[in-house]
Subunit: 203 residues, 2 copies
Amino acid sequence: MEYPSKLIEDAVNEVAKLPGIGKKTALRLVLHLLKRDEEQTETLAQSLTTMRTQVKYCRKCHNLSDHELCTICASNKRDQSLICVVEDTRDVLAIENTAQYKGLYHVLGGIISPVEGIGPSDLQIDSLIARLRGTEGEQVREIILAISPTMEGDTTAFYLQKKLRPFNLKISTIARGVPIGGDLEYADEVTLGRSILSRIAYD
Amino acid sequence: MEYPSKLIEDAVNEVAKLPGIGKKTALRLVLHLLKRDEEQTETLAQSLTTMRTQVKYCRKCHNLSDHELCTICASNKRDQSLICVVEDTRDVLAIENTAQYKGLYHVLGGIISPVEGIGPSDLQIDSLIARLRGTEGEQVREIILAISPTMEGDTTAFYLQKKLRPFNLKISTIARGVPIGGDLEYADEVTLGRSILSRIAYD
């Protein structure tokens, strides 16, 4: 496509580098910004640059943070003996939204994926082990592996289980089964099969 | 949702102001930028700001342009007696992509929409009339109204027809009918009805 302006073309190309945004959507977004005040574009550009250059990672759990310790790690209301291991910040947000968990987190920063060339050493696994050894003054009693039940997620969970076994603590994973509100008929056979094997007894 | 960082929250809020992008998508985009080099975010922010502050509108056709005259208006290969009136830049790009049109354009910058409070005076209609009067040295023979066949588009086209009638030039509109490759069975009755009324005789 031949753009009427080099400036537009540059902006469209940069926006289209974002995941899930093609050239057509990028052009729509750029034209939208042109219809709005200059200030809106300025604020957008500024907030992206500031975010990228100034955001920190929590020293303890490696979640995104404005300070050296994130608000969760710094809180005295959280159960310091429980660590939930997740892939990235979005998982922390999702679990926090449930308001069902009161322990700490550990953000791996990815999952093991040979296809994308991500191995255990690219993830925050050594720092998790350091936490278990007590370098951060924590006395961890249980580790919950809250990693997506995909091929790569299961590999990562399996690797972590092996690494964590010597520490003699409780290791659990989040329950897999039929989603609440879901229809049995439409559940895939693997999920349905596991949900029968892991059936829960009524009290 | 409670974000782990004020910087992330600000960036997500700004990105989510773009049309069609919700908070979840915005967060995904922001986290994507965090995984890439700082340079990518810097280039993105810079290209948006430069585009917003430096892009011009062509003096003649009001299309986006890097110079006072856009490349189409400045070209001596285009038929100066033909003006195609469109809603915005995207329509120019779409028509240019067909490689079937060799005249000039006139970009209205919108269409008449009482719901959104856009009236004829908000559009580049006076400047179109000025072009027909010859202020730009053009001798226009035909105007093609290439405006979307929607309620608002038809209103705009109807308004323009009345405004342009005194100039004694040919006024046409793009053909409406069954799309090529489309299935008659699935064409809506208005389109199909019109395509019968506007049937084309074989040579």
